[in-house]
């Protein structure tokens, strides 16, 4: 056993986990671990606000499926990452947050920059560790990574007191360990999968609802195989967007509050749903009661606690959804079960899809959201990674930006964190430097973490920020127009700041696109740029996101464009 400090042990243990970079910001209580960057190969990526470091780690984790790591100091540094932890927890993203803490003897004394981050973060982390002795550090790191990335992934917090970082101890880096109360994987029950197959085959109007879990477990090929073999139309949740290629004939797109009209319609007409890796969130299903009486539900999920939490199910399959779908694919092959391509249901699905393709009204102006996002889709290579912020632009992206390569679209869908998309795109670009990475943004959200431009420029991480700028907190404005008799309170952004000048002041490229022609040129310029680019696209502040399922109503009651 080698004797070393807790800080050195932290970095050594992280190197063993394959960590190549850390997003963070130093301060008094994490200086010892920062000093170790001078003596190891892990790259440090400096942020201007700890919340952004957490979102970068989150974006890195979602794209690479390995936990991203962020560092923050104690006190305000630690509290600044809380929103990042909550965002990762709500969307089951693997992440490791390492915070400095005041020395052990100072804990509980209201010391300078002390915060009880373990207590505060408890409901928004999968697990947390606070090593009290340097020798406990390696095992905390090993277990932390294991917990973060197995089962249903999530954020893990390591809160390390300064003296634990500074003091030396003989260090053992264990490969083997036990966590008695943690059973991340269950073997899917084959008999339940068989019953699910029987139920699907014997239904008249079966449908697949693919959730975020499908993307987390990369079950793309298995999902496609089941859908094509049984001729099942596929709708997704918003988090599941892009679990299935959206240019596939069986794809209907996301359901939900701002789901595709054809997806909501077909979901409402189905008599049996294979729900994969979803928690049936209110945003996705509206009020399910309206049609659940005639809807048989098969629910596959890795988390046993999700079964029956929001939705009573007829058949539950607990286990990694990829493993469950593999069993289903195998059963279908064995019995050479194949459904006809000309069933009444599939014909109806095709006609409905066709109808909405022709008849969904979009904004008539040249710079309407649909046209802008279809232009982006047209020019982006299919392997590009897209993140979004939260608001109208996010829902327009859901409606009008088709994901062709599965697992290339990421958004803060659960917590709905404005300001997530830009730093997350930086983390995504670090994970996938070989593909273009675009943050589809609105001006309101981008304002919240726009200072990450400094990180993008100084660390040579050339992402593209695609700002649909209505100079308004647009989604709030839409609700005020719809539900509050057009009393517009607290939504006007007053054209401030000028995003082109803002980008330039950070050394990034700023381009304003006021016509389709300018947009075409701007996207092409951004794709060939060596520095981060902000494309500022002024749009009509009165444009609504439609269709719209009002809260507390059923998916079949959509407000449609008039």
């Amino acid at each position: 056993m080698e004797t070393m400090t807790g800080a050195k042990a932290l970095m050594t243990a992280m190197e063993k986990e394959g960590v190549k970079q850390v997003f963070g910001l130093p301060g008094g209580a994490n200086l010892p671990m920062y000093d170790e960057f001078a003596r190891c190969d892990i790259r440090h990526i400096l942020v201007r606000h700890e919340q952004s470091a957490a979102h970068m780690a989150d974006g890195f984790g979602r794209v690479s499926r390995k936990p991203g790591v962020c560092f923050a100091t104690s006190g305000p540094g630690a509290t600044n990452i809380l929103t990042g932890l909550a965002t990762a927890q709500a969307d089951s993203a693997p992440m490791i947050a390492v915070t400095g803490q005041v020395p052990v003897a100072m804990i509980g004394k209201d010391a300078f920059q002390e915060s009880d981050i373990i207590g505060m973060a408890n409901p928004v982390v999968k697990y947390s560790f606070q090593p009290r002795l340097p020798g406990e550090v390696p095992e905390a790191v090993r277990k932390g990574f294991y917990i973060a990335e197995t089962g249903r992934p999530g954020p893990v917090l390591l809160d390390i007191p300064k003296d634990v970082q500074q003091n030396e101890a003989p260090m053992d880096f264990p490969d083997e360990f036990t966590i008695q109360g943690y059973h991340p994987w269950n073997d899917p029950d084959v008999a339940s999968v068989q019953r699910a197959v029987d139920m699907l085959v014997n239904s008249e109007r079966p449908i697949i609802l693919a959730g975020g879990g499908t993307i987390i477990s990369s079950a793309f090929a298995e999902l496609q195989s089941v859908a094509e073999t049984l001729m099942l139309p596929v709708v997704t949740t918003f988090k599941g967007k892009g679990a299935f290629p959206e240019n596939h004939p069986l794809s209907l797109g996301p359901i939900g509050m701002h789901g595709h009209a054809e997806a909501n319609k077909m979901m409402a007409e189905a008599d049996c749903v294979l729900a994969i890796g979803t928690r049936f969130s209110d945003r996705s299903v509206g009020t399910f009661e309206a049609f659940e009486k005639r809807l048989k539900i098969i629910h596959m999920d890795v988390d046993p606690a999700e079964i029956g939490k929001n939705q009573t199910t007829n058949i539950a399959v607990v286990g990694d959804v990829r493993a469950s779908l593999r069993i289903m694919v195998k059963l279908l092959l064995q019995k050479s079960l194949k459904k006809s391509e000309d069933s009444v249901w599939i014909k109806h699905v095709r006609e409905t899809k066709e109808y909405w393709k022709e008849n969904l009204k979009i904004h008539p102006g040249e710079m309407g959201a649909a046209k802008i996002l279809r232009k982006l889709r047209e020019l982006l290579p299919k392997e590009s990674v897209v993140t979004t912020e939260v608001g109208q632009h996010q829902m327009w992206a859901s409606l009008f930006y088709d994901v062709i390569q599965p697992g290339t679209f990421f958004s803060s869908t659960g917590l709905g964190t404005m300001g997530w998309g830009f730093p997350a795109s930086i983390g995504a670009k670090v994970a996938r430097p070989d593909v273009p990475v675009v943050d589809i943004a609105g001006d309101g959200s981008f304002s919240m973490t726009e200072n990450s431009l400094a990180t993008a420029v100084l660390e040579d991480i050339p992402v593209i920020v695609f700002v649909l700028n209505n100079s308004t907190l647009g989604m709030v404005a839409q609700w005020q127009r719809t539900f509050y008799d057009r009393r517009m309170i607290g939504v006007d952004q007053g054209g401030c700041p000028d995003y082109v000048k803002l980008a330039e002041s950070y050394g990034a490229q700023g381009i304003r696109a006021q016509s389709m022609d300018e947009l075409d040129k701007a996207i092409k310029s951004a794709l060939s740029s060596d520095v981060a680019t902000v494309i500022d696209i002024p749009i009509d502040p009165e444009e609504d996101v439609l269709p719209f399922v009002a809260p507390g109503t059923s998916l079949s009651d959509m407000i449609l464009p008039s």
């Binding site: 373990i118 999968k126 008695q180 109360g181 988390d303 606690a305 029956g308």
Partner: protein
């Protein structure tokens, strides 16, 4: 529905906080809670009683089970479980006959009388929560000065 949950946890600081926090954040209620170390000092056993419909109780058990610090979570079947709570009452006495009446009740419920004063006495009662509730109703007319309860401790009977 009233439910008794038996939760074996690692005996580490902060776990009681996490368990009770889970009840708060998931909108469940704790009716009573008792915690103590087991014969193996690496583990503690928490006994929590709670109310909810079947679906809620199942969900509470699943959420507790999902916690990494819980080693075993069981909903105990009331009919196959020995469960008891210790309760101490401080009861007001207005007359000499009150003392006799209370003593009779205490004997009937298998309790013990302590600290008899002219105008009050203390009663120690170990019983099921339902029996304690019944006893409480009976002594209420005398005047209850104070009550302290431990919460339920419970173990499933062997072979049950």
């Amino acid at each position: 529905m009233w439910a008794i949950l038996s939760i074996l946890v690692e005996n580490k600081p902060g776990i009681l906080f996490k368990v009770t926090h889970l009840f708060r954040s998931r909108n469940f209620n704790i009716d009573s809670i008792s915690v103590g170390v087991t014969d193996d000092e690496n583990y503690s056993r928490m006994t929590i009683t709670t109310y909810g419909d079947d679906k809620q109780i199942i969900q509470i058990v699943k959420q507790l089970d999902k916690m990494i610090d819980t080693v075993e979570v069981k909903q105990l079947d009331e009919h196959k479980t020995l469960f008891r709570e210790l309760c101490i009452f401080n009861i007001k006495l207005s007359s000499a006959s009150d003392s006799m009446e209370v003593n009779k009740l205490v004997n009937a419920y298998g309790g013990k009388v302590h600290d008899v004063k002219k105008d009050s006495l203390m009663v120690e009662l170990t019983a099921t929560p339902a029996q304690i509730k019944a006893f409480e109703e009976l002594v209420k007319p005398f005047g209850i000065i104070d009550v302290a309860r431990t919460g339920v401790a419970a173990l499933q009977r062997s072979g049950a």
